[in-house]
Amino acid sequence: MSLAIKVTQLNAWFGRTQALYDINMQIAASQVTAIIGPSGCGKSTFVRCLNRMHETIPEARVEGSVKIGNLDVLAKGTSPVEVRRRVGMVFQKPNPFPAMSIYDNVAAGLKLNGFHKRQELDEIVEHALRMAALWDEVKDSLRKKSGASLSGGQQQRLCIARALAVQPEVLLMDEPASALDPISTAKIEELLFQLKAQYTIVIVTHNMQQAARVADSTGFFLLGRLIEFDKTQKMFTAPGDKRTEDYITGRFG
């Protein structure tokens, strides 16, 4: 197993409220890692610390270390823009830029980074849409249709394509399928299998069956602490901690 993300003694606050306590976690490269736990357990805060989204909230604060390869994510000298280029994110609710065409949605990140070569842009957009398993559905209306005109499931795959276009190393997904129907959900899950060969994926999910289906490793958070982190197969058949077992068998939360 090669290591993609090394989290050491991560603590996070919203104002005076502490949201994460002493998180230590080593996330493997080219794997899907699921983060589960009841609402308010800190799982979204955790992934938002991995690409410095946490600090965009007023009065939010973070301490500790997150390393992605040689990138010291939380260091003072590190540019958040650089971090977010290397660590892409997909949110619960699909959020394409509504006024932009499908093409421009995918190209937006590259253009923002000053990339304007038309032919290469075309290639990257096609590649990203193919990776997101959306190409065949939209190739004839790339510039004609807006991102908002797509179905919910297509919009979410568009957002994945947009995240992939800037060629990140890590893809963070916060409940990416919770607003989608079962067919779109299945497409996203299938996509994760394809993508994990090239990307390290961290997915937050409330759906335990989804974590069991897609993740190689699963971490269970409770009240801001990482309670247990192990292979998914072990977590869902014979977890080591009573609190994990109680949560995944629905005895609380």
């Binding site: 335990m208 069956q209 069991a212 192990d230 292979k231 197969q233 072990k234 977590m235 869902f236 058949t237 014979a238 977890p239 994990t244 077992e245 995944i248 068998t249 629905g250 005895r251």
Partner: protein
Amino acid sequence: MTTRSRFHQGLDELKSKLLAMGGQAEQAVETAVRAYNERVPELCQRVFTNEAKINMAEREIDELALDLLAMQQPMAVDLRFILAIIKSNADLERVGDQAVNIAQRVMDLIALPQVDLPADIPQMAAIAAQMVRQALEAFVSGDAEAAQRILEMDDITDRMNQEIFLAMDKAMNDSPDVIRQALDTIIIARNLERIADHATNIAEDVIFWIRGADVRHGFSTTTAK
């Protein structure tokens, strides 16, 4: 009532159904052995009649277990519990079958002249029945240590089966007119040994349910790789 508490109620129901069925299987063994000891055909008949109830119970348990798997997607300890139930269910049904096999041999023995053979069937039957009862008790209390002790008892019935086989072999050589009775006795001992095996399987399922460890065939690894 929340969905989950309905689910846990379903698990409790599954357990009580399995225990009720276990009680019937255990009783079938005891009745068959009493028929052997006392040479009473009516007791054999009772075993034959009761088998249908055990078979029916097996179907009901599988059906409920399948429903819970499909509707509730159980995880971790609950998943292991349902697997243990499904497997123990099949073992208990087989215990019932073995009781029927014994009763059939007893019917045959009753029709033959009574002979005194050096086989302690009552003692072996007592151990096998005790193993079934203790396996069920371990299931009731979720007691992996009690289940562990049953595994050790299995060697006793294996040895007794072997001893009875050798003794009957000798008896048949010594006196050809007891061949049929001796063969019936060998088959009964073999059935009792199988009953003890099923009790052992159930004990292993209890250990799997409680500890998440697969201890079958002498392994002591957990399910997680």
